[in-house]
């Protein structure tokens, strides 16, 4: 019983943290930052490393729902894109973490997540919103952005996970 309570409150804390980061990022002006850093994914990926895939899925999907509620974007196209990107990204990261963690560190998995996030968003945007194949011209730019943000976030996850394990032991 005590264990379950601990798990639940830990999950709630992580979800709250991810939601706050997600919401804070949503209000960044698009003129200066045309891409998202995806800092909220630091929490999601750390959860994947520390507590497993199921918790990471809850944290990621939960923060997208809550974050879009706070930002007033719930149900909008932006929410759809966010949801598609976040879900496929955490799925991809889960798969790579499960089968490829010998090959990739946190940084590699974070980059995979960032790339999948962007590609999924583009595909959904094409299918549902824009319907003009010209949108895929954005793909190279988004890949550059994904490589950069994925790298930075991956390093953050690495330090966070290492620190957390040190503190816990």
């Amino acid at each position: 019983m005590n264990d379950r309570m601990q798990n639940l409150s830990r999950l709630a804390l992580l979800l709250a943290l991810a939601t706050v980061i997600h919401t804070a990022e949503a209000v960044l002006p698009i003129t200066f930052v045309w891409f998202r850093f995806g800092f909220a994914n630091i929490v999601g990926l750390s959860t994947l490393y520390l507590f497993g895939f199921k918790d990471a899925l809850v944290v990621t999907i939960g923060r997208i729902f809550l974050g879009s509620l706070f930002a007033g974007l719930f149900g909008s196209p932006a929410f759809l894109l966010s949801f598609a990107g976040g879900t496929s990204s955490i799925l991809a990261m889960g798969i790579v973490h499960r089968f490829g963690s010998g090959l990739f560190s946190e940084v590699g998995i974070s980059v995979v997540g960032a790339v999948v996030h962007n590609v999924a968003q583009l595909v959904v945007a094409y299918l549902l919103l824009v319907k003009n194949p010209g949108i895929f011209l954005l793909l190279p730019l988004m890949l550059f952005a994904a490589a950069g943000t994925g790298f930075v976030n991956g390093l953050a996850v690495r330090f966070l996970v290492a620190h957390f394990r040190k503190v816990r032991s």
Partner: protein
Amino acid sequence: MIITRYVTIGDCALITAIIVSAVALLFVLPTLVVSGGTNVEVRSGDRVAGRYSLDEDRRVPVEGPLGTTVVRITDGHAHIESSPCPHKFCLRMGPVGGEGGLIVCVPNEVSVTVANDRADGIDAVSR
């Protein structure tokens, strides 16, 4: 090496592969994505005489009140090749291409419009 303290060889390979493919896509995608789709619409008076693709070279004769105006599509551009009108302004309007544009021959009531499918404003804004 200090770098392997933070990233594995796999990470480096992955990031390199993504950047390389991004650079490659930067050059490949425009030719894949933006080809065709641009259309030439030839009108005679109120009537649409025909719609054609800019990608295929062709010669389109159009009947007007004064006679036959010949529209020619070559190298992704449309221009008026010959016209029975007195001043030949339409010939001097030059070619219009995929960036969109319009040629009009007022006396013979012929117009050539190139629809610009690529940059038709903003369809959606989202973040």
